[in-house]
Amino acid sequence: MKRRIAGILCLGILLASGSALGAQPALKPFERGTWQRVLRDHAGRPTLVHFWGVTCGPCKVELPLLGQFAKDHPDIDVITISADLVPNLPAAAQSMLDKAGLSSTENFIFSDGFVERLRFEIDPAWQGDIPRTMLISQNGTITTIEGSAEIADLEKWSAEQRFSH
């Protein structure tokens, strides 16, 4: 009983503090080393990692399509990473994710001001253009799509994952 009360209190305080600080607990910080952890955590599972940003025009168009893709493909681990340069807009990022139907996917936000280093850990050749999608197969093969992904290409890749499974 006490535990339950504590739990409710915790939830209440967390929600209150979350809204007071404008923070969204659903967004995970993406920091040094996060990329390797993401790869480890999803090893052996087909994983789609989508890099986007709140000020990126093409991202606004693509995000809802990706939301539908995630809904249609529960067998694919969908991860989004807000990769804008200033990581102080979790509320705006969360709002766009919610509207795109991506509330329940694993969502990160760049949380290190030294973005060159974050990007270098992911792909040394990446200069920061977004949107960008990385398709990670069960065997770890990474296919990178620069710019908006065609949903048909994602469907094709998804079907290949089922086939290889």
């Binding site: 006490k2 990126c56 025009g57 990581p87 973005v115 920061g128 253009d129 977004i130």
Partner: protein, 403 residues
């Protein structure tokens, strides 16, 4: 007792959480601190006045401030805040405040803010007529309310201030007509009163890439030239230049290079342009096209109609980025950033034959945390690297002529 104990633990947990959040926030920020002072700046833009005074405009803590230096950046005057209150300044990677200083010491400024929660931009401008002691109230550069970003300013020989920016107003009629509109329009306006008021904004070119800085210079008196990432047929985001016939009349666009970068994305990585006293255009840009990838340099000796073959710049394994090129009377200097996984360096090379050949690249500065783009500025006799870094503050370094 139990309840108060629980509340105490929860309160402690909340406090710890808040403290962690603060520490986390500082680390996460690209700014060293959150005050309006220069040390906290994320973007700083220099310009020399005719009398040799260095002027610097910067954004820090949501404010835009200006100061000057009479000792080549060693010390600065007390800053004058241009913004009356904290604004949601455009923090896009290629955004920065702009400054030009005319022969009479008048200072024209422009910068963009995010006007709403959808990140629609607005270009604001102001002017100081009293040698930087005070600035006029900020005014929008155009009455139109569609998004504007990535403004650029340049000063003509007669004191005319020319402004160009990326503007999304033409999306509206396209949308109403059920048509797709890619990118943004390149718009321009000029000011005959040193940047106190601007003429009505006009379109130079539709459908340009909407998220990259412009390069702007004067090719000759009355003839602005702008380089921009265009959207060519098939969504190819390669670079183009346009030389204006006069400050009111746009010219033809010419492709700088056929890189074939077909991408529906925001590269956040715009070009650089300088015009040498003999009229040569020197340009530098980033591409990730099918034809070539990386940083490139080219020049044009026919007012931008044709360009030399693109010359690759920097080490491909070090992510060369953010090029800036500046032509002086005797030499042309180019700087850019490289990153080795831990450290960012500024690389520099010099050409003494108007861009035909270049010295080997040389590391002239470095930092171990995030940094602004490296910029070049000249007082007519000496060129300097101007570079804002999070870890080491603002730097102004003379470019040494020796390789």
């Amino acid at each position: 007792m139990v309840r108060s104990g629980l509340l105490g633990i929860l309160a402690l947990a909340c406090l710890q959480g808040a403290a962690h959040g603060q520490m986390h926030g500082q680390h996460a920020s690209e700014a060293a601190c959150e005050e309006p002072m220069l040390r906290c700046a994320t973007k700083a833009t220099p310009a020399f006045g005719h009398d040799g005074t260095l002027w610097l405009v910067w954004m820090a803590g949501g404010q835009v401030s200006v100061a000057n230096s009479h000792d080549a950046g060693h010390t600065f005057s007390a800053p004058v805040q241009v913004t009356a209150r904290g604004l949601n300044l455009d923090w896009g990677p290629d955004a920065r405040p702009k400054i030009v200083v005319d022969r009479q010491g008048g200072i024209a400024l422009a910068f963009a803010t995010f006007r709403d929660e959808a990140f629609n931009g607005q270009v604001l401008y102001t002017r100081s007529a009293d040698g930087g002691k005070s600035f006029a109230e900020l005014r929008p550069i155009t009455a139109n309310n569609e998004s504007q970003r990535f403004e650029a300013l340049a000063l003509d020989q007669d004191g005319t201030v020319f402004a160009a920016w990326l503007d999304k107003r033409n999306r509206v009629p396209a949308k109403q007509a059920g048509q797709k509109y890619d990118g943004a329009g390149l718009f321009f306006a000029s000011s005959r009163d040193g940047g106190a008021t601007y003429a009505e904004a006009r379109l130079a070119h539709d459908n340009t890439c909407e998220c990259c800085r412009l390069g702007l210079a004067f090719a000759a008196a009355g003839r602005p030239v702008v380089i921009f990432r265009n959207i060519f047929e098939g969504g190819v985001r390669d670079h183009a230049v346009m030389t204006f016939t006069d400050v009111s009349t746009p010219g033809e666009i010419h492709r700088v290079s056929n890189d074939d970068w077909q991408i529906n994305a925001c590269p956040h990585h715009g070009p650089s342009l300088t015009v040498a006293p003999n009229g040569t255009y020197h340009v530098a840009w980033y591409t990730n096209g099918k034809a070539r990838k990386g940083l490139f340099y080219a020049h044009s000796r026919d007012e931008g109609r044709t360009f030399s073959a693109p010359m690759a710049v920097g080490r491909p394994d070090r992510n060369p980025a953010r090029p800036f090129v500046l032509a002086g009377a005797a030499e042309t200097v180019m700087v850019w950033k490289e990153f080795d996984g831990e450290k960012t360096t500024v690389q520099m090379m010099i050409s003494r034959d108007d861009g035909a050949t270049w010295s080997p690249p040389k590391t002239i500065s470095s930092t171990t945390d995030t940094s602004d783009h490296p910029l070049l500025v000249s007082n007519g006799r000496q060129s300097y690297l101007s570079w804002m870094t999070k870890a080491d503050g603002y730097r102004l370094m003379p470019i040494e002529d020796q390789p």
